[in-house]
Every structure is written in C-alpha cells, then in structure tokens.
C-alpha cells in the first residue's frame, strides 16, 4: 500500500511537471512548429501570397530550386562568409579582446572606452548600417571615394559595391565591422575565466607573452571559438537586413544570399510557394550545421 502511495505521488509530481511546461510547449507549437509545418506544406503549392486560392504543384518548386543558378550563387556567398568573414571576425575579435584585457590591467578606464567604441556597431540596427555604408561606399559620389580623390588617392577609388567581382567582399568586410564588437565582448568574458595561476606558472617556466597566448589562452577558449564559429555559420544563412539595404543582392546577383533571394521571390515576384522552398533549404542547412556541432561537442573534441 505504501508502494502504491509512493507511485501515485510520483505520478502526481510528473503530471504536475507537464502542466508547468505546457505554456512553453504551446508557444513552441504556435510560434515554431506550426510555421515550419505550414511552410513545408506551402512549398508544394503555387501561391502569390495574398490570393485565397493555392494551386498544388507537387515537387515543382523543389525542381526549380535545384535548377536555379541564383541558389548556387547564394550558397557560394554563404560559403565565402564562412571562409572569409568568420575567420577574420574571430581573429580580429580575439586580438582586440586580448589587447583590451591587457590594457585593463593598467588603464581600466581607457580599456572600457575602447571596449565601448568597438562594441557600438553591434548595437546599431543592421538595416541602418546598410544604408549608411551605401552612402559611404557608393562608387561615383560616395564619401569614401570622394575623400580618396580629394587627397590624391583617386586610383584607389574603386566601385566598392557596384563591381560585381568585389561587391561580395565589401559586404563581408562591412559584416566584420558590424559584428566584431559582439565577438570581442564574448571573448573578454571568457578570458576573465582563465585562472591567473596558469599564466603565473607559465611565466615561471619561462614562457613569454606570445607563448602564453598560444598555449594557454587560445586552447582554454576552445569552447568560445567553437560557439562563435557556429553562430557565425548560422548568420551566413540568415543574414538579411544589412545586405538588403546595402546592395539589394546586386549587382547582378553577386551579393545575393538565400534570405535576400527568398524575400525578392516572395514580395517582388509573388512566389510565396517557391520562397517557402528556399526557407526550407535554409532550415535544412541550419539543422545540418547544428547536428554537426552537437556531435563534435559530444565527442569531446571541444572542451
């Protein structure tokens, strides 16, 4: 009888637990699961986004996706983001964070000021950054080129966002400017968790600053590096406002990402079904990246 009593109390605790998590489950269903399933369903239809009618077209949107050469450009640009923006962002952020942490030992206020200045771009809405940099980088009358011409460096006044060969690299550099502050703050917080004894022991053993960074700081922050890599990789698939306001995916689709392409298909061309297919592609890519991350983390390759 006592056994039965214990079981019923346990069952009560478990059932009460479900009640407590019910609101979160409902929010999850309404805000995440339902939109995903709706999106999957929509990808099998032709719909202009407003009409009360949808036409079932089976896998036609998927076939179009495979044949669409702009999708290949979008994926290539995401890859460039991972190969160029991400390493640049992480390396610069690490260097800035290390320097700030060193300055902080001596000049606390100055290091706070530098940290604030570096972090400021991260709090500006990306759409504003795109608009501002469009004015700065515009080939003919942009502020940068006008300045270069006025100081006799007109030969350097290139078409930063109008040349289809270099526009993507310009976009990536603007991203670095925007996001490096965020990574600096993450690195700074992580650096503060490194026990000082490690550095003291290394100093006693004769290691100079450089070797301390290589053999203590960098390995200790493995998890931080990995987190930033994952966040950056997801950003390569989901970035939108900055690119849309800076180049609108042009010139000649050269700065198109999946998100900007999805937007133009949905709202400029009234192809909501095809946009849903592109959104699914983004979801699948993000899922694959997340699964790889979890696998690597669990295999303890990253501590």
């Amino acid at each position: 009888m006592e056994e039965n009593h214990k079981m019923s109390r346990l069952r009560f605790k478990v059932n009460t637990g479900y009640i407590f998590i019910l609101p979160a489950i409902i929010l999850f269903i309404v805000l995440i699961l339902y939109p995903i399933i709706y999106n999957i369903n929509l990808s099998f239809y032709q719909w202009n986004g407003a009409s009360i009618h949808k036409i079932f077209i089976g896998f036609e949107n998927y076939i179009t996706l495979i044949k669409d050469n702009v999708i290949a450009i979008c994926l290539k640009n995401s890859l460039l983001y991972i190969l160029i923006e991400l390493p640049l962002n992480i390396i610069l952020a690490f260097i800035f964070a290390y320097l700030i942490s060193q300055i902080a030992n001596v000049y606390r206020r100055i290091s706070s000021l530098i940290r604030t200045i570096i972090f400021l771009p991260s709090i500006i809405p990306p759409a504003f950054i795109g608009i501002i940099f469009r004015r700065i980088l515009e080939g003919q009358n942009g502020y940068l080129n006008n300045t270069l011409r006025s100081i006799g460096l007109g030969s350097l006044a290139i078409n930063w966002i109008g040349n289809y060969k270099i526009a993507i690299y310009t976009v990536l550099l603007v991203h670095v400017w925007w996001l490096v502050g965020y990574a600096v703050v993450i690195y700074l917080s992580a650096m503060q968790t490194i026990p000082k004894e490690y550095y003291e022991s290394a100093e006693i053993d004769g290691a100079n600053r450089f070797r301390q960074v290589i053999h203590i700081t960098i390995p200790y922050l493995n998890f931080t590096h990995f987190t930033l890599i994952i966040l950056g990789t997801i950003t390569s698939l989901t970035t939108f406002p900055l690119i849309y306001t800076l180049t609108v995916g042009g010139p000649a689709n050269s700065t198109e990402f999946l998100t900007t392409y999805l937007y133009s298909r949905a709202f400029a061309f009234g192809k909501a079904g095809y946009s849903a297919t592109i959104a699914l592609l983004i979801l699948v890519c993000a899922l694959i990246i997340t699964i790889i991350q979890l696998r690597l983390y669990r295999s303890r390759m990253i501590i």
């Binding site: 999850f28 339902y34 009618h53 042009g250 010139p251």
Partner: protein, 480 residues
Amino acid sequence: MRKYIILLIIIVFAVSIMYAGVGCKTTATTETTLAVTETTAAVTETAAETTAAELGVKPPTEKVTLNVTCWTFRGSTGALKEETDAAMAKFKEKYPTIDIKMTMPAYADQDALLSTGLMGGQGPDVWINECGGAINGLVKYIDYTLPLDSFCIQEWGPNWKDMVAKEALAPIYWGTGGTESTIALPDYIEIMGDSGFYNKTYFDKFGLTPPKTWDELVSVGEVLKKNNIEPIAFGASGQGDKRALWEYMALDFAGPKVFDAINGKANFTDPEFIATTEEFKGFFDNGLFGKDPFTGVLYMDKITEYYQGKFAMNFMGSWELGVAEGPTDYGKKDKNMEWRIWDLPDWNGDGKTYGALLAPAQVWCINKDISEERQRAAFIFIKECVYGIFATVQANHPSWMAFTDVPRDLSKSGLTEQGLKDVEFFSNSLKNAAGYSGMKYTELDDALNKGLAAVAVGEMTAQKAMEELQAASESLERTY
C-alpha cells in the same frame, strides 16, 4: 518511449491546426475565372438595359466614411496640395454623404498593409495599385477586387471604354484570366519609350545637341565624360529598370514583334532581339552609364543626382515634364540648370520609329467584400479621381490621364513657354502609342532582368541571354 509519444502528439496537433487553419485549399484558378465570367455576363445584360437617362451612379443616401489607402494622392507640397485640398472640399460639397478617410503609407509599406488587411478581412474600401510592368501588385489582390464593369456602364454608358486609352486599359485585364473584367480603373498614365530628358545647361555649355542616333549618343557621351559629367543616369538595382530600357530599344529594333514575342507568337532569339541586347550592352561598354550602373542604389536615387547636375541625360517619360520645370520630391534641384525633352535616338538607325509605350502609373481598386452602399460611394470617389474633380487636378500639372478627354488648365502648372509646347510632344506620343509597357509575365521579367544584368557585366552573351528568355517564354502557361 513516453517522450516519443508526447512528441508524436505535439506534431499531430500542429498538423491538425494547420489543416484546420489557413489555406490548404487546392481549388484552382478556374473558380476565379468562373466568378469573373458570371460578372461579365451580368455586365452584358446591364449594358443592354442602360439608357442615357439612367446614366450616373447614385451616391449613398446615408453617411459613409470610405477608407482609402494610397501611397500618394495628387501632391504633398506646393500648388498641387492646395488644389488637391480645394478639390476635396468640392467633392465633399458635391457628395455630402461621402467622407474620405485617407491612409497614406510609404510606397514600400503599402503592399504589407494591403496584404495583411485584405487577408484578415480588414482591408480598405479603396486602394491604389501599380500596374503595367508591376502587374503583380494588381493580380495579387484579384480575389479581393470588385469588377467595375457594371458601375462603369451605369456611369458612362456601354461604350465607356472608348473614353480610355486602350493601351492603358490592356494591362488591367492581364490578370483576369482573359475575361476582360475591369478590376481597376487607370488613373494617370506614363508615356515613355520615345523620350527622355537632357540637361540643357550642360549641352549649351559644351556645344552639344541632343543625340538622334547611336553614334551621336556615343560622341556626346565622350564629350561629357571629358568634362567630368556622367552621361546617363541609370541605377539598375531595381527590378524593372533594366527591362524598361531594353523594352524601349526592342520596340525600335523589332517594332510590334516585341508584343508578339511576349505573347509567345514570336521568338526572342530572332536577330532583332539579339541586336537590341547587344546595343544595350553598348551602353556599358561605352561608359555611358558612368562607373557604377549596378550599385545597390535605386533608379530614383540616380534621378536625384541627375537633378543635382551629376548626370546629363535620363530615360524618364511624361511624368517628368512637370518635375523638369517645377519643384520635385526627388530632393534639391540645382536651380541654375534647365532640362528639356530628349527625343530618343533611332537605336538601330533604320529611320523607322514606332511610337511610345503606355502604362497606367496607378490604378484604383474597390474591395469586393464591402456593402453595396459603400461600393457605390467607392466608385464615385474613384470616378472623380480618373475623370472628375481630382482628375483635373492631376491633369493640370501636367499629367496625362487614361481617360483621354479630361479637361486641363495649364495656367497654374508652372511650366515655361517651352514647357507648354513640350506638352504637345507627349500628347502626340499618346495618340501614336505603339502599345503597353511592361512584360506581362513575371517569369519573362525575371529572365530578362537576370540576362541583362549578366550581359552588362560581360558574364553572358546577348545570344545566350535571349536563349534564356526564350526558354522562359516557352515554359510559360499563358493564361492571359
């Protein structure tokens, strides 16, 4: 095990909500076509019954407040605003039972407002929309739009279409499944393709005359560039900008065949279209568009710079006449400069021209899900916009209305003597229009813009671009 059961329940629940909720109807467009066909049949009966004595839609007997959504209504500043306000006062006097509540979102926001409003059953009674090359904007909301034929017949009689420039009316029927149901009324129209504008101050300064041939254009461009003036304002990051220029040139190279190709009755791989595309590439090869024709900057930003004197020529049409001579919303104009009409070159040098292209700049739509009283009030409002009190305000400044005999008084237009003469240029263009502007099908628009972008930067040949366009044309299901 329990975890998987709970997960399964959640997924089944979510799928159930989805199927119980929005849009899994697989009804094809035949339903819309049938509904429109029934309306057309009713319209034909109404036409037979209407006599001259019964003309005129009756205003509502009880007070109605119409919700009107439009990104612009006549003018926001200066003389146009005063006249608009005066016209509104006259409207209220003439129709005391109709109140207008106008919502004027930014152009970029209107689509989102309309989309969410109409789909949620809270849409406006009347809204303005784009047409022609931006046919998507009109077709997208066709399920919510009231066919206006019966009202038009009631107001103007069965031959009302004779009052409207037919090339301006044609695009309105594109999205109606070929049923010729009038789902919107055209407001003012754009006349373009045979003209642009040039900076007369620069041309006088450098001893130039407006180029009449391709070779003259290239020579003029060289002189301007030597004097650090970019020849032609062209910001082509927008979707329709490349297509519009190509279209003007294609009309010159191919004549009415361009419309046959759009309708699938001719091939885009024919020599005329390839030659057009090669000439289009010539603009970039000769540096006529300056150093950065494809920046992220939109065409309208380039036009702002044009009025500040950074460029010498552009390809804008009839709506530009008032801007060239009067104030503009494009930012500050350089007050020391003058702009004049540029009769565009004979691109292929064969001495033949085919006239202008017309597009309704804006069209008015009525929500079909409002009461009959509100529909009548809404029609009266848009009737006054296209052929009445408000139409005259627009026509005076100067614009060309789709209803071609809207009276006009140019004394308050601010036009110079030359400008008043230039009005005739566009009026003649309107009479000699070659057809409608704009690709009927977004698939063609898309393929053409992609191809032209690639051709301009040297990534694709003209031949290949036209092959891609032809492939898009052949894959189309032309329902209108």
